[in-house]
Subunit: 597 residues, 2 copies
């Protein structure tokens, strides 16, 4: 804890339980049975134990109205899993070196999303930290961690977190995370953390026993909705705000990626996202270091990222699924599920121009009109990606884009992701077309839940033509193991080829002034959806791509005059004085002479 | 229909039923059994009968998949009640005289809310229209009708409407409404209509058989939530938009009061309220005549009335319950139900200053922080009232303010309602302290529903100490009859006294320049909650009131210099050169000399 101790981390055993008749602190201090200490309630429904004061390493739990031991809803550590006793953590989470650090700007950034458990064979923060120099050298500026809050079992994506203030033991607990953040900062990389506030996982969620954390006024696809605007929601909102501030302040994390904000149902006059943004801004001011909030949103609503002066929530950025979907459909021709209604090249072009493909138009997947124009929202407010944990992992078998579309098209995807006027984000291993899939894996302790997840997964994909035995069993350890990256393959054959392609694109983005930042205003797009080509111009730089299987001739006329090729996804692409001739799918990056870039 | 026929009112039997396998038009053209005509579906799920064309007066219904006859969801008339056949209405609803009419401005307006069924003993539009000259002469500028859409039975408040495009037969049907609007316009009065889009009534609601009009993603206190953002919601939203446009355009109504907008659950990027406001503005532009939308909202969120350029929905005004609650508690000392946490004089002062009493502070009734500051929202965006159908009628026995607090305090309420920098709204009969209560009455045909409503009402008030037999039976005709105004009493005793007081206050508001409009910026408030007085200054005009039972001395010092009394709620109030001495509850309106008003 720094000297500027936040009053949310009192040195006192405390818990909010507004309806309890009695709360006992159960303190495990050596004896075989924990000591039971009656707590006292204050006017706000918070229970406190005056003595003893908590000490680092204390194991404790709470008993509600004489019931069984329950972990602290704000536990910082669950050494024996989410059902067990909590452990008090009071030492400084973040080593001092972090204080000198200045984060890179998101507008000039490149994000790399990783899952601690599968990023390295070791599967921990410490083994992940060993690859941080690799990421820096690759040219990445921001590392985004999939959720690390404690969830049931030893492995999982992290969206089943239930102890939201605790860092998963399987990854290395609080100290592991602090060391990882420190290592990133030492290498000049910022850290983004994925946080889930719209639901809790299905196993080990004891919050409802303590208070009205949930509501049945709304529904989410993943379980009970969090109570953000019902009676007694103030403390639930405080729980979320304090959680965000813990990551940002105590762990020194630079930004939060807020999962599925469309499932944060809140009709109060100040939306929880606006309140989070105000809290992050206040922390930034107080510490002189900028912290960011990035939304995963399928609302296509610029209100999230609009400034608060114009009625927005003032978040810093949001994910842009429409860019992904347009690009993915252009490359794979897939049109099932949420790709229904995406038209490939034409919609990739629209997303490059307007950000949202659905900006008021009918969305067949939603069976309604959807979204509103992004207007003049800045390009750095949108993250562009051709792959991420969801887009890869929510497939039946977790195939990466290259597995589906081949390496030539994956190279085209990389070019648009890394050269578009948005903030690029890569998914672990994408840069070498990793052979490992990213499959859906869980480790629920409750066998009924395990079975339900397995069968739910099979049922989900049956409608897409998958037989049950073809869908990997999430509970099977081998599903997890298959998803672990193989770093040794990086130097081999097409993997090495792909890695070189990514390095070249990243280097170009980072060195070519016309590609730096995310200036939407100076970008322009031409395309021919029938012939299957698209041309993106950013200042002196042109990115021209063909998506079709056969040869494609792109005529650009005078627009192509005096240009020279900078990068080409394959040597057989012919750059002429009036356009480009592609033998098949590919992309070429050119620079026009006489234009000061 | 005017020559500028809207394409939403096609001259064709049509109905939206996207999941139906078959729809038959049942046309009652003389024969004892209706003729059955198969309809054809288009790509949007609309079914049409090519022949015959509908004629004025045709009785018709639809049969879904061979099922029983159902009324048209967009029926303009239900001559035999909400369960029966619909009647085609194709003649001009609004007589031509309406076209010359120019509406009064809301900022200079005074609204009069009335319930057609109880406003006059006749209980129809035509008998209500006979009192329009009285309203004009009283000084009212806007007549607000409680809902008139067809609901079950012959009497009710109107919030149980199920045929939202039909005008209740009990009131006189479509022609009756058209004649009423015309009479108001001829007398220079604007008409506001209360519309309910957040739920439908419990009896005669067949919409769900036609399409996904409802959703279980959200809950409302009154039944299924309307599907505003789920699959196939576009047509449901169109249904609402067309309904609003029908009242505003076909009937020439000047403004809609949208019931309980906090129950319009819509998380899409363009909220239905914003879409309604855009449609009303477009109609205003097209016709050269301003139409307004006024929200009933308990959100305390200025977004509703903020301009769309700053992220608001752009509605014209909203009801201000906080003003009412502050005033009501100051006058009655009641603190139960939603009055919990209101502090009387202090909160009346806050509402006069800031509009919202809960602008981010904790609301005990909601058990959470509530609202956000109204900021510099203009005063004419808020309606102020000391009584309305809800505040009177939602009491166990429907008592008016004067019944509860006596005539002296009711006079104080009138002064603040009519002289505050908001748009005043009166409730029928308030101006003569009518003896009739406004009780909750219904006329459901389904005996089980009738019983449920009766018992629900008793249960609701049991917690406030009412015995079951003390709570009037909503289904009993005498409950309705008790609520009918007695116009003969106007000229008698304290009724005449009160009417004179209202006339004087209205005349003052309409003639004194410092009271015209709703200028919040030039208003200032002082109060002493302990002694129970409040002083509101608007330019050269001071309104000083005492709320306590005993004598109250208000010292204003130099602020009171050279003032003269304009109006006094009783003669025993002593206006001195330094303040006012009240013998008991009362109010005095004074004007300072040397100030050009």
């Amino acid at each position: 804890m720094t000297s500027k101790k936040l009053n949310r981390t009192q040195n006192l055993f405390s818990v909010w339980a507004p309806s309890a008749e009695r709360i006992d602190l159960l303190l495990q201090d050596g004896a075989s049975n924990p000591r039971r200490i009656a707590m006292r309630v204050d006017a706000n429904g918070w229970w406190h134990a005056g003595e003893p004061k908590p000490r680092h390493g204390d194991r404790y739990a709470f008993s509600i109205d004489g019931g069984p031991a329950r972990p602290d809803p704000r536990s910082r550590r669950q050494p024996d899993g989410v059902h067990g006793f909590s452990e008090w953590v009071s030492h400084p989470a973040l080593p001092p070196s972090g204080t000198e650090y200045r984060p890179p700007s998101l507008a000039d950034g490149i994000i790399y999303e990783l899952h601690v458990g599968t990023f390295t064979p070791g599967g921990t923060f410490d083994t992940a930290a060993e690859q941080v120099p690799y990421l820096r050298e690759l040219g990445v500026t921001h590392v985004e961690l999939m959720p690390v809050a404690a969830a049931s079992g030893e492995r999982g994506w992290g969206y089943d977190g239930v102890a939201l203030f605790a860092v998963w033991e399987a990854y290395g607990g609080p100290e592991g995370l602090a060391r990882f953040v420190d290592r990133c900062h030492a290498e000049g990389l910022a850290v983004i953390l994925d946080v889930v506030y719209n639901h809790l996982g299905p196993e080990g969620n004891y919050l409802a026993e303590f208070g009205p954390y949930f509501t049945d006024s709304y529904r989410t696809p993943w379980g009970m909705a969090v109570n953000l605007d019902g009676p007694d929601c103030d403390e639930v909102r405080r729980f979320i705000l304090d959680n965000a501030l813990m990551w940002l302040d105590d762990y020194g994390i630079d930004a939060l990626r807020i999962d599925a904000v469309h499932a944060l149902h809140d009709e109060s006059a100040i939306h929880i996202l606006e309140e989070l943004a105000m809290a992050a801004d206040e922390l930034s001011r107080r510490t002189g270091r900028r912290r960011l909030l990035i939304a995963e949103s399928d609302l296509n609503d610029p209100r999230l990222i609009s400034p608060r002066e114009t009625g927005g929530y003032g978040l810093d950025a949001q994910w842009s699924d429409d860019f992904h979907h347009g690009l993915h459909v252009a490359l794979t021709g897939e049109t099932h599920g949420y790709y229904v209604g995406f038209r490939g090249v034409a919609d990739l072009a629209k997303s490059l121009r307007d950000v949202f493909v659905h900006d008021g138009a009918y969305s067949p997947a939603r069976r309604r009109r959807h979204g509103r124009p992004a207007g003049n929202s800045r390009g750095y407010r949108f993250l562009a990606y051709s792959q991420n944990h969801d887009q890869v992992g929510n497939r039946a078998r977790g195939e990466r884009l290259e597995h589906l579309a081949g390496i030539e098209r994956a190279k085209v995807a990389a070019a648009f992701t890394l050269l578009a006027p948005f903030v690029p984000m890569l998914f672990q291993g994408e840069e070498w077309a990793a052979s490992a899939p990213f499959q859906y894996f869980t480790d629920h302790g409750d066998p009924d839940l395990g079975r339900a997840v397995r069968e739910g997964r099979r049922r989900e994909f049956r409608s897409f033509g998958w037989k049950p035995e073809e869908v990997p069993d999430p509970q099977d350890r081998s599903t997890f193991e298959r998803s672990v990256l193989d770093w040794d393959e990086q130097s081999r054959g097409s993997h090495a080829d792909m890695l070189a392609w990514y390095r070249a694109l990243i280097a170009l983005r980072r060195t070519e002034p016309d590609l730096s930042g995310c200036d939407r205003e100076t970008a322009s797009v031409q395309c021919d959806p029938t012939k299957g080509w698209l041309h993106l111009r950013r200042g002196s730089i042109d990115i021209t791509a063909a998506f079709a299987d056969g040869p494609t001739e792109v005529h650009l006329g005078a627009a192509a005059r005096e240009w020279t090729s900078l990068l080409s996804s394959q040597s057989a692409i012919d750059v002429t004085s009036t356009g480009v001739i592609f033998p098949g799918p590919g992309v070429v990056v050119t620079k026009r002479a006489g234009i000061v870039g």
